[in-house]
């Protein structure tokens, strides 16, 4: 016999419970909801008990372990960088990066580099604004997979700030500008793939 299926209201109950437990990301929460719901359904069937009793029993023993994954910001950041590095180190990206650095080394005089640095600053700012509008005004929900891409952009911003300087006082060189451009192009490719995957999965 098939285990009972939880109703939409019961699923919402689990969702609200996890929201109250500070599970802020929708994608993390939806995986937890499925885990809890499946366990509760099995418990209801095997122990012949009602939803609330099964839910309470499960949570008493598993809540701590279940929430271990939640709000581990440094871990999330590490995963974001690891996932980005998979795009970054693809052979065609590396070839493009080397070509970019060589091109700037031979043709990029100080004026050109300063202009690119200016452009980089505003490109990063523009992408960040688009991300904020998309997350906060269009989706109005927080998804870890999207916020992870924002973390990567923040890392690139700090990289350029450190090695090229602020947009008005450039102190970088063709290599630092080349690497930043390479990182930004790789980021855009990574962001497009991530958003496409996100839309297919959650919208």
């Amino acid at each position: 016999m098939k285990a009972p299926t939880l109703t939409e209201e019961q699923i919402q109950f689990i969702d609200k419970y996890l929201q109250k437990a500070d599970v802020i990301f929708v994608d993390i929460r939806s995986e937890m909801i499925d885990h809890v719901a499946t366990a509760v359904e099995e418990k209801m069937e095997s122990e012949h008990i009602e939803f609330y009793d099964a839910f309470k029993d499960f949570m008493v023993f598993n809540k701590r372990e279940l929430l271990k994954r939640n709000n581990k910001n440094f871990k999330y950041f590490q995963e974001a960088i690891v996932a980005f590095s998979k795009t970054l180190f693809k052979p065609y990206n590396l070839i493009f990066g080397v070509f970019l650095i060589l091109f700037l080394e031979y043709f990029g005089d100080l004026k050109v580099l300063k202009t690119i640095n200016y452009g980089l600053f505003f490109a990063i700012l523009g992408i960040a604004i688009i991300q904020i509008i998309y997350s906060h005004l269009i989706l109005r929900k927080r998804y870890l997979c999207l916020e992870n891409t924002s973390s990567v952009l923040t890392a690139i911003y700090y990289f350029t700030f450190l090695f090229n300087g602020f947009y008005r006082n450039f102190y970088g060189n063709s290599i630092s500008i080349g690497i930043t451009l390479f990182l930004l192009f790789a980021f855009m490719a990574h962001a497009v793939v991530t958003v496409r995957k996100f839309r297919l999965s959650y919208l």
């Binding site: 939880l6 499925d34 994954r69």
Partner: protein, 115 residues
């Protein structure tokens, strides 16, 4: 006696390989299904906790070894994990490493069994 994965460093080191092996055998699986499968195979001896399983799955996903598929099942979303092409190749390597490890441990712990 149930061994909780969180309490055992020995099992912890093999968790990723266990997950990859299960996915190699079963195609695609979701989190809860993995915990139950491990419990079933080990006859309840080994219990993978949620706190160990999900970080491992998400790390393998970030490393490009697992791919995910999300489906609506029974009023909720279910995230299925499956091996990528790189993941399939890596599973072979990791299993071979684990087998070597088990063999070496066997020789060290119980040398009499060696012929």
């Amino acid at each position: 006696m149930t061994k909780k994965m969180k309490n055992s460093q020995l099992y912890k080191g093999s968790l990723n390989t266990i997950i990859m092996k299960l996915l190699e055998e079963n195609g695609k699986m979701y989190g809860y299904e993995i915990t139950q499968k491990v419990k079933l195979i080990t006859q309840g001896e080994l219990n993978i906790t949620e706190g160990a399983l999900y970080p491992a799955l998400h790390k393998l996903e970030a490393e490009g070894l697992l791919d995910v598929e999300i489906e609506k099942v029974d009023n909720r979303l279910r995230k299925y994990y499956k091996l990528t092409e790189t993941g399939t190749k890596e599973t072979v390597n990791r299993l071979s490493e684990l087998e070597d490890f088990i063999r070496n441990m066997q020789s060290l712990v119980n040398p009499k069994l060696e012929f």
